[in-house]
Each structure stands twice: as C-alpha cells, then as structure tokens.
Symmetry: C2
Subunit: 350 residues, 2 copies
C-alpha cells in the first residue's frame, strides 16, 4: 500500500451524517445533553461512517506494534531490552494485561513485530513484519532511514487494511518496546514545539537521575536533528521508532477505511501527531481512549483537539487503555441504534 | 429482612485479602502501579470478597428503583410527573438508554416500583413493591412516615438479597423519578452539612428561575425539618424519597452479602450517605461508577471517600453511569485472575 494513495483517499467527516446524529440525539428518550461526552462521540462516529447510526464497533482488534530502540543504550530505562521480546511472548501466550482486557471486552489481539531486536518465535496471533532489529541511537544518528520509515508506515497501513478486510469494525492501537516513551516524547516535542522537559515522563517508573538523563537525551536529539514538523516522515526517521511509524500508518489506514481507531497512550498519541501531519482529516477517525499518566499524552491529545474518554492514572501501554474505552465507544453508538424516541415510546416532553 | 439484622451483619474489609492482592499486583507482568486506579480497585474488591482473586463481577444486574415526589408540586422540574411511569414502561419495553447499555455490557435490568404515582402494568422485569403512590411534599410535611421509610429500606435490602440468591455477583444502582434530584440534594446537604446551593444542580436541565426555586425549596425543607444526620432514617423520612430509601437498603444488602455495588449518579450517591450513616463499613462494597454532572454527586462521593471511575459529563441517571463502569470493574478483577507473573512468564525484572 502506498502512503500517498492512502493519504489521498482520506476525506473529511460527513457533515450531513453528523447533523442527522445530532437531530436523532434530540429525539431520544432522555434529557438533551444528558449523555455528555457520549453524544458528541456518537456524532463524530456518524460523520466518520457517513451515516446515522454508524455501524457498531464490533468486532474489534487491538494491534500491538512492537519494536526496540537504539536509544536504550543511553540508559533511559531501567528494564533490559530483552523484555520487549519476552513481553511479546507473553502476549502470544495470552498472559499479559492486554490479553486479559481483550478477553473481557470481546476484542482480538494481533501482535506485529516491526522492530524487535531479537528473532521471535511464531504464534497464531504474531505477525512477523520486522523491518530492522531495533532502531539506531537517535542521539548519534537518525533512528531510521527514510526507506525504513516509509516501510514501517506502510506496514501499519497494510495491517489496518487487512483487519478491515477481515471484518473488524473498530481498531485499537497497542505498543510494546522497552524505551519507547523516549522517542514518543521526542516526537511530541518536535510536532508541538514544546520543550523536552514538558513532554517527558517517567515511563514504566524511573528514578530522578534516569529522568534527568532521559530529558537531556531527548533535548540533545532534537538539537542534533532539528526535525521539521512540515516533514512528518523526516521527524519519524530522526527521532521516532519503528512501532511509532507503523502506528502512524495504522491510524491512516483506519481513517482511509473510515473505521474508528481508539488511541491508547502516549506512544499512539505521538504517532497520531505524525498521522495528522500527513493527513489532517485522519483525526476524524481517532478516538482518544484514555489519558495516560505520561505528560506528553495530554500535550499530544490537546494538539489534536481530542478529549480522552478515561482518566484512570494508567501508564502501561500495550493497548490497555484503548481496550477499557471500547465498551464506552460501543455504548455511544448503540444509543443511536437501540433507544426509543419520545414519539415511539409515548413519553411526554417537558 | 430487618434492617437491624443487615446492619449487624456488615463487616469491615478483610485486610489479609487486601494485602494478598497488593502482593499479587507487584508480581504481575507490568510495571508496578501502571494500572493506576484499577490496582486499588482490585485491592478493595479482594478485601470485600475476603479472598484474592475475588470473583469476577458477573453476572450483573442493575436495579432501577422508581418513585414519584410530592415536592414535584413545587415546580422543581419542567417534566410532568407521568413521565416517571412512562419511562418505567420504556424500561420494561427495553427502549431506554439503561437497556441499551445493559445489553452492551451483558447486564440484566430489574425495575422496582417503590413509589410511582400511577398504577403500572406488569412486565417480566418489573417488580411491584409500591409502598405509596409518591411521597408527600417535603416543604409542607415529612416526605414519608417512619414506617414507610423503613419499608422502603427493607425492600431495597430484599431486592439485593434476591439478586444475590439468583447468582448476581455485581449489583448496580439505577433510579427513575421525576423531581428526584431535589430530595437527593436535600439528603446530601443534611448528611454533609453543606448549604443547599452548593449541592443543588440543574437535574434534567432547568432554567435559572426554576433552579433558584429548587434551591430555595431545598433550603426551606432543611429549615423546616432540621434533619439530624445521626438519625439516618429520620433524614430519609423528612427530605428523602422512596427510591432513595430503597437504594440505601440495596447498598446495605449488597454489603451484607459482600457483593460489589456500583453507584450510578447523584440519587445513589445521596442514598449511599444514608447507608454509610447506618453502617459505615458498607462503604467497602461501594464502587463509584462515574461523576455525575450534578454538583451534589462530587460532594457526596468526597464525603464517602470514593473516587469515581468515569467522568463523562453524564447526568441521565437510570443506572447508565454505573453500567459504563461495569467493564472497568470486571477488568480490574480479571487482572488478578488472568495475568502472568514475572516468574511464570519468564520476563526479566528491572
């Protein structure tokens, strides 16, 4: 799938379908506005689908893009790099939190290796799309070449298309990669212009010394590469990661197919900035699942104009926050399908 | 079921089970603390069940307690009183938002008429437990007699017991009653000592003139009755409603059976203050589903020390906010059941 074809196919939300959803919400047996954020969400999803009601977001699949990071050598994480591959094995075996949440909410899990440093053993739900065994150290050189970056983005597009072709009516972002909050923070700084210390968090939990080093690593990389937000692929190549680039493509592929895609945490939010820079109308397909405790997540979602559905202090990644939001997205759509109107139910109005 | 027997049977959370849950959370394949509010929720539910892991909260039933209010005559709501009965018919027919959300999340809906002004026609999921065809006007006299109040509380206890006996492993509060945010605000003011204008909201959506009248009606009722928070049944009788009293009993019955009960909005939160005043340890069974847009909800939950899981700007009632929180509660418990440990999955620690 070429990136250019996908970007050219992404269209704005359908205003007529959004107007129909607003009009329908006003006739349903509930006080106007009483469903709060779910009403606007139902309007957005109607605009994406181009009809009211839009399809229920079922079945759903969370695609967990996994990769490793050369910048890990700069001691930005206390976890050894092999944990990426070990956690992928855990996902394939069904033992991680993403698996538990997917079972609870009726979603499938697909793991996509785009950049894990270690050769993985196969599994039913593991797609080998490895582009490179980990990125380069962004403090020394660009993390990826232009060709690797494009390949990662187009892999993400292809995964979204394949899931849509397989019947998925909702996509969810997931990620795994020890050290991947460092490129995420760098991407958010590059696309929003905010300084490194405002968008950098403690990831899986780091001490003050590691945190200070992480901020300076990100600041150094930004000074070295001067990434230009008008060149989104260049930004991804300089300071991104393979899973970040693939997630950007995944979001674009969902938008092209007009399927809602629930953004998980700070990794996906950083990828969403790249996707929106490539195709601004892609934001119409994005639903912010939750507010990660990582400070960069709020900055990125604010830049995109997205309000997260949940705020539970989570910072796990894997797609866990997106999965918790899935039933809320489904409920918002189901209201337009199932709920009686004042007329049909014989309920008096005020 | 006697209220005294239930209150005497309510015990504190089991500290050993809570410690076991904290210890288990630390060994699961995720960074410590990365599931945010879900970790503490899993600890609380372990303490309630007295074991780790606690049972999954399935199957679940939302009990929608319905009643009318004499204070409706004081023009505190723009909706005609017959809408209570019309909406109950809508619930029984499956056409309301509570039905849509229950279908989405695999819960049952039981409607309990404790005080609807109009004789209702039966239905498979409608329980006729009518105590009085609407309360009295609290601005002129106590809303209920002591006997009516006790009967309503004990009806709520019986409903919780019957659902538990039928296999429910999670209960959710629901309510329907035109005008019922007025007694809810009065109860919250009485139990927390906050002034009427701090705990009164616009309910289903009222204009400035109606809002000012609603605040003064509540303030007048509080001056008239001087409800004493040390006498919870007296407070309910003076300024409560039949569904509020029944919900207080429902919460106590769940706590007695050590089943989690998800609190919906401001009506249930006001009832929870009464339940906690009767049996402080009952709070261990309560999960705050969402933060209603009604200002009294935050005051009541804060008084109880409960943090809501969701904040979506909703103010519909019916049990809708509790139903949206149900999958999150289930996910929090499922983590303790399903997720591998670092040892079992062969994942390195930091």
């Amino acid at each position: 799938m070429s990136l250019e074809t996908t970007v050219a196919a992404i269209r704005p939300a359908d205003e007529a379908a959004m107007a129909a959803a607003r009009e329908r919400q006003a006739r349903l047996t509930k006080p106007a506005g009483s469903l709060g954020a779910l009403e606007e969400l139902s309007v957005r999803l109607s605009g994406l689908a181009g009809r009211c009601p839009p399809p229920l977001p079922e079945p759903a699949t969370v695609a967990v893009f996994a990769g490793d990071h050369g910048v890990h050598a700069r001691n930005v994480s206390p976890w050894p790099q092999e944990v990426t591959a070990q956690m992928v094995a855990n996902f394939v075996a069904g033992g991680a939190v993403v698996n538990a949440f997917a079972r609870q909410n009726g979603a499938e899990v697909l793991v996509v290796d785009v950049g894990v440093a270690i050769q993985l053993h196969g599994g039913r739900n593991l797609l080998d799309a490895n582009i490179r065994r980990g990125t380069r150290d962004m403090t020394a050189e660009p993390a990826m070449t232009a060709a690797e970056t494009r390949q990662a983005v187009e892999t993400g597009i292809s995964v979204a298309h394949a899931l849509a072709d397989g019947g998925a009516r909702c996509l969810l972002t997931g990620d795994m990669g020890i050290g991947n909050t460092t490129p995420a923070a760098a991407l958010i700084a590059a696309f929003t212009g905010r300084p490194a210390d405002e968008v950098t968090g403690r990831g899986t939990g780091i001490d003050d010394e590691t945190y200070a080093r992480k901020v300076s690593v990100i600041a150094d990389a930004l000074v070295r590469h001067h990434p230009d937000p008008a060149d989104p692929l260049g930004v991804l190549a300089a300071v991104g990661g393979l899973e970040h680039a693939a997630l950007a493509g995944f979001l674009l592929g969902a938008a092209e197919r007009r399927i809602p895609v629930i953004i998980d945490g700070v990794i996906a939010a950083s990828a969403a900035l790249a996707a929106a820079a490539l195709a601004p109308d892609a934001v119409a397909a994005m639903v912010a699942g939750h507010l990660s405790a990582e400070p960069g997540a709020a900055v990125a979602l604010g830049h995109l104009g997205l309000t997260p559905l949940l705020d539970l202090g989570m910072r796990l990644g894997e797609g866990t926050g997106a999965l918790l939001a899935l039933p809320i997205v489904a409920a918002a759509v189901r209201v337009l399908h199932d709920v009686a109107t004042f007329d049909s139910a014989g309920v008096s109005e005020k």
